[in-house]
Symmetry: C2
Subunit: 238 residues, 2 copies
């Protein structure tokens, strides 16, 4: 079989939320690529995949600095290009390379940048979808993301405030990723719109430290880095 890059989503955290397709790819992969772990721990994506990887799997850690895309794009681009070149070399050697992504590879992932570099060359790339963190959040609290003739907006709290405001205007249902970046601003915005009882904040989902709150005061306090906000304008949140 010729060398191929598979970008796979390992889902939001529960190892059993990976797909059968990804499970089968793990069994035949030559190299598994994952971001370098932080503070001595393996990456979250690797920890999710690990129970399903054969014992002799060859792991390759790649460094993707956690810096701001808008402020240091040139540093990041250099790193993407370097890492893409390493993968390119592996593909040339006819390796089956599996790149792990938390959640889904097409939603806010580093894989998507690497993919762009590699698509410019004539190599085989297949992206394998995964379960997104926001679908899992809704499943955990049994509250639908969107129904019938409503819509859903997905926004990152690192976007410009004016963009976030128009997304808050446009949808009945909104998911705010990276809410810890500016949760006080969002709390005030919700109060100003009479939506201070129309949200659920979920932190450290699926872990021992999971916390679910509907209290606006919690949103104004210090909240964990791994937190996501679901806003529902017309839904009884109980």
């Amino acid at each position: 079989m010729a060398g191929t890059l598979y970008g796979v989503g390992v889902g939001p955290g529960d190892p059993d939320l990976i797909t059968l397709k990804t499970y089968k790819l793990f069994q035949k992969a030559d190299v598994i690529i994952t971001p370098t772990g932080k503070m001595g721990k393996p990456s979250v994506a690797y920890r999710i995949a690990k129970p399903h990887l054969p014992e002799n799997s060859q792991l390759l850690e790649m460094d993707f600095p956690m810096i701001s895309l808008s402020e240091e794009r040139d540093v990041l681009e250099k790193k993407w290009e370097e890492n893409a070149a390493i993968i390119h070399q592996l593909i040339e050697e006819d390796k089956i390379v599996v790149f792990l992504t938390l959640g889904d590879p097409m939603v806010f992932s580093t894989y998507s940048y690497i993919m762009e570099y590699l698509l410019e060359h004539d190599i085989k790339i297949e992206t394998v979808s995964g379960v997104t963190s926001f679908c899992n959040l809704a499943a955990q609290i049994n509250i639908p993301l969107t129904q019938g003739e409503e819509s859903l907006g997905i926004v990152s709290m690192t976007q410009p405030e004016e963009e976030i405001r128009s997304i808050l205007d446009a949808h009945q249902n909104i998911i705010v990723m990276k809410i810890s970046a500016n949760s006080v601003w969002m709390a005030e915005e919700l109060e100003a719109r009479g939506l201070d009882q129309s949200f659920v904040l979920v932190s450290n989902i699926g872990t021992e430290d999971q916390k679910i709150t509907k209290n606006i005061e919690d949103l104004k306090g210090k909240i964990p880095y791994l937190s996501t906000l679901l806003i529902k304008k017309n839904y009884p949140l109980g």
Copy 2:
């Protein structure tokens, strides 16, 4: 084990895109619930699940009329309530009931209404996420849904036009579900915004009849029912 309702997403079409968790639930389910098929064919959700179901699986088909939510909500509500009562009875009999949903159970699914009725009673309900159709679309064409400091809007073409317009304004990336409901209107809207080369239309994804087009004239013509539109304002679509 006490009776439990599991609402599971079977993903967008490829049977190998179900999760390991759903696969394991299939092996221990007492009853598998799926919508009644149309025109003599089993439902799409059942066709996806079938390769993974044990031979002696007990199937229960439920009728969910394909009528307009805004125009005939009372007819639909009566049907949801009837079907929820049947499931409630099964749970009381300590059955493990698995309700199949195309894609993810929390994104535009009938399961979410059934879940709402059953949450009012004191029974165990667990929702198991699946891969959404829009993530799969992006994977098939290797184009990211959203990256970095951008956002994503997900809208159904059956929503009011004014709502769709503000969603087109608010996001750099937009997924339009059920685009066949009014694709000519959307084509004109894209032209008026100078976005006539900023979209990909994917029809019958993952089937023999799959078609991918970036031509605005195709969007103005008759398009298949199973079509989804991805709009990307700032991305080289080639």
